[in-house]
Symmetry: none
Subunit: 226 residues, 2 copies
């Protein structure tokens, strides 16, 4: 996993770099906006950590440029006074932000979350739980006795989370965050996704036997095969 750090404060960049390397990431750095774009094209990293205050080319512009050309996850670094810019950055398609000062540990957590969310990360071996198997590469669901079902990317991610937590109830908020990122808000989208997923995998959506609702809390899939 390659991470590009765009930060003009060399001390901070050093800390970030050290932390990420420790965690097993491959790290490259850029110290101004123009260099950032060059490095991005040269390295095609899997994730970008982007300071907003940059020499030569503004961080927001960098964000926009990158986003216009790819889906690479972007995490914005900001100081408190940048609040407006953060909002604009998120609107421009950044995935998350961290306000300075922050702990490397927190950064690491966000990097991992962002990579996990984009699904690009995990070299997905098939995931088996609750009696079913999810082929995350082909977005296919396999169930004994049924034909394989073709899933969309979002459906696959939703199912993946529920399977990883199989036997436990996953709160709706947690699902939203895990699927749409920290700024996904609307529960309606989740309702929709669950509904569409149920129609694909279940014979009778009105009496779900597999993907169950826990009213007021969230959703769950049974861990045991009944």
């Amino acid at each position: 996993m390659k991470v590009l750090i765009v930060e003009d404060d060399l001390a901070l960049a050093g800390v970030l770099s050290y932390t990420l390397r420790q965690a097993g990431y491959e790290v490259s750095s850029a110290y101004d906006g123009q260099a950032a774009l060059d490095a991005w094209q040269a390295e095609s990293p899997d994730l970008v950590i982007l300071d907003l205050n940059l020499p030569k080319l503004d961080g927001l512009s960098v964000c926009q440029q990158i986003r216009s050309r790819s889906d690479t996850p972007i995490i914005i670094l900001s100081v408190r006074s940048d609040e407006d810019d953060v909002v604009r950055g998120l609107e421009l398609g950044a995935d998350d932000y961290i306000a300075k000062p922050f702990s490397p540990r927190e950064l690491l957590a966000r990097v991992q979350a962002a990579l996990r969310r984009l699904g690009s990360t995990v070299i997905p071996g098939p995931l088996t739980a609750a009696g079913i198997t999810l082929d995350r590469e082909r977005l296919e669901l396999h169930r004994p006795g049924f034909d394989p079902v073709q899933l969309s990317a979002l459906e696959c991610r939703l199912l993946e989370i529920l399977m990883l937590e199989s036997g436990h109830v996953v709160p709706a908020d947690a699902l939203i965050t895990a699927v749409w990122g920290p700024y996904g808000t609307d529960r309606t989208a989740l309702k929709q996704l669950v509904y569409r997923l149920r129609r694909k995998i279940e014979d009778d959506p009105s009496a779900p036997t597999f993907l169950e609702t826990v009213p007021g809390v969230g959703y769950t899939i049974a861990s045991d095969i009944s």
Copy 2:
């Protein structure tokens, strides 16, 4: 929520302890590095507040040791001259730091933030008391010989409290505070809630056998199985 305070300045430790206790945390203290590790193992706190300047065993070492064995959030206390150590502490996996001098309010805010960040994953296991089992994840009540009963969020909270105090009488005021918070509502709401809960779980609401009323005081559930 348990907090471990590691601070050799007794006066400061006292202030910290007082502040946190006021806010409803359970607090334990250690006054040197070695004692900190011992206390940490003995108490398994939910969060550690760690001074860096400690007798016997350096704060950074304590941080490292704790982090190598668990994800317990750590907040570093430091004086301005410690800056380098703070950075090292954060690299070692601390979650946040506070520079002395600080206000109690700031401390509380950081503690809460740290707990919120990592602690949201605390899943309550099933609670068993008085012969019944409460599945707090699914809001379900299980009783031997009966079908599981679906509860609402409030009903579940009420039952949880009574079960935790099973065998004792819980005053009505205490119940209201525990369920609706410090700005609790009328007793009528409690009457309602009890009534509705009884109808869900009891065959004969007019002669309650499980959730009993203690007139003029509150409610209780028997601790023994009758």
